[in-house]
């Protein structure tokens, strides 16, 4: 089964991190990215770079919702079941740093 792991970060989770700590964090993310079950993954640029489009031609500066957590990236994974996907998701640093990971199965098309 394929799952999207949608990574939500708590704003300010990296405040006060020095270069070494940031590098360690990046290494953790890369380790997940390099897991053979991970098909693809991307990190998004910060919320300040975002633009939101709505009906009526309204463009808003920033991400679409004023939420405590900010969507920061995703992984697409192939896993036999939810527990396997959960085990992968558990390695994502955002979880222990006050954010969350949403695990959703991809809509598959029946042949």
């Amino acid at each position: 089964m394929r799952y999207a792991l949608l990574i939500n970060e708590r704003p300010g989770s990296y405040d006060g991190f020095d270069d070494a700590q940031l590098a360690a964090l990046t290494a953790e993310y890369m380790a997940v990215r390099n897991d053979p079950r991970v098909l693809h993954g991307e990190r998004l640029q910060p919320a300040s770079t975002a633009t939101t489009l709505r009906a009526g031609g309204l463009l808003t500066d920033g991400p679409f919702a004023d939420t405590k957590e900010v969507f920061g990236g995703f992984f697409l994974v192939e896993a036999p079941d939810l527990d396997a996907a959960l085990e992968l998701a558990d390695r994502i640093p955002a979880v222990r740093l006050g954010g969350s990971v949403e695990i959703r199965p991809l809509a598959e098309h029946y042949r």
Binding site: Y3, P80, L82, D83, P105
Partner: protein, 384 residues
């Protein structure tokens, strides 16, 4: 005779079928149909030598038929081999009830979904019976079950025993479901959820003997259940201190104590072990409240739960007096938890503050959910 077989075999058949066809709904429907066929045929043909093998074989055939009717199961059908009808298969019918329990109680499911699935798949209760036990309409319960099964299928909730690393926390979820079912209370027949949860916890204990916390939960359930006959008199709740101990079930107490000793000997020190130890101490006359309070201290440290803090305060009232207990209760963040108000009311009554006690009883009465509790609180209020 057939209803006994049903009781004993339902969850095993469903579990085997889920393992066989990978779909909970098809498994339940197939099992249901197999038992219906048995109900028609066995009185005529006689009960088979090995009922389980007969039921599994019949259910498997029903499952294939059901899958055939739905296009989206085409892949699944192709994977299934035609079943061999034979009594010799009995040794091959593995007990997959553990897999089934962990599936039904998976933390990815909403808590009420876990309870409903467990009662249906493991308890064998009909949807209508579960609805009645939880005071919702059958339609609501049917929808709840369907949503839950859909999530199991679409999110890929697995049919397997969790890996060692996560087994303890998954087991906690299962125990929480079973304890919730127990606390839902006493109906009759299969809706006697206290009896049903005691039975299911015993099955779990059998399947996972290396986890003494399960035995501790069994002890807790039996010790609480032993007081069933004394809990209500004239339609009103009777508090522990006023219960007629002659109405307590001595056998359950003995069994509960034995299970508790056994669990403690195997190292159980978790919340159920502590609560069972507290319940056991409360079977004594007089109650050793100092020891009870000590156990609550440990339980509070372990859980940090404000509800535990509230129950601890009740013990503090016995060891240090109601004023000390009231000070503790007033420091708790429990919102409109009805037992917060009923406990405050009791303490205020014992302190002789009649106006404040009456106000607290009124609030508790507003929040209470059963007639038995309401009558007890109203009587107390009127005596204040």
């Amino acid at each position: 005779m057939i209803s006994e077989v049903f009781r004993a075999e339902w969850s095993r058949i469903v579990a085997t079928l889920v393992g066989f066809c990978g779909d909970l709904h098809v498994a339940e429907d197939a099992a249901q149909e197999a038992f219906a066929i048995a109900a028609r045929r066995w009185p005529v043909d006689g009960v088979p030598e090995v009922p389980r093998a007969w039921l599994v074989t019949t259910a498997r055939n029903r499952a294939i038929d059901l899958l055939r009717r739905e296009q989206r199961h085409a892949d699944k059908l192709r994977q299934l081999e035609p079943p061999q009808p034979a009594v010799e298969e009995v040794s091959v019918i593995a007990d997959e009830r553990l897999e089934l329990i962990f599936l039904c109680c998976h933390p990815a499911l909403a808590p009420e979904a876990r309870v409903a699935l467990t009662l249906r798949a493991l308890g064998g209760l009909e949807t209508a019976e579960i609805a009645r036990a939880f005071l919702v309409t059958e339609e609501t319960m049917k929808r709840r079950l369907t949503r839950a099964r859909t999530k199991v299928r679409d999110a890929g909730i697995p049919f397997r025993v969790p890996d060692e690393e996560v087994l303890p926390e998954r087991l906690d979820t299962v125990l929480a479901v079973l304890y919730l079912v127990f606390n839902q209370g006493w109906g009759d027949g299969r809706t006697d959820l206290a009896a049903e949860s005691i039975r299911l916890t015993a099955v779990l204990d059998e399947l996972l003997p290396a986890h003494p916390e399960i035995g501790a939960l069994r002890a807790l359930m039996l010790l609480h259940d032993s007081r069933r006959a004394a809990r209500i008199r004239d339609g009103a709740i009777v508090p522990l201190a006023e219960q007629d101990r002659a109405l307590w079930d001595g056998e359950r107490i003995v069994a509960g104590r034995a299970l508790l000793d056994h669990a403690l000997a195997r190292g159980a020190r978790g919340p159920y072990a502590l609560q069972a130890a507290i319940a056991e101490l409360q079977t004594a006359d007089p109650i050793d409240w100092v020891e009870v309070r000590r156990l609550y201290d440990t339980l509070l440290d372990l859980t940090g739960s404000p509800v535990v803090a509230l129950n601890r305060a009740v013990a503090v009232a016995e060891t240090d007096g109601p004023a000390a207990a009231l000070a503790l209760v007033d420091g708790l963040d429990l919102g409109d938890y009805r037992y917060l108000h009923s406990t405050r009311a009791e303490l205020l009554r014992r302190l002789g503050d009649r106006d404040a006690a009456r106000a607290a009883y009124d609030r508790a009465i507003e929040l209470t959910t059963t007639d038995a509790e309401r009558r007890f609180l109203a009587h107390r209020r009127d005596c204040s």
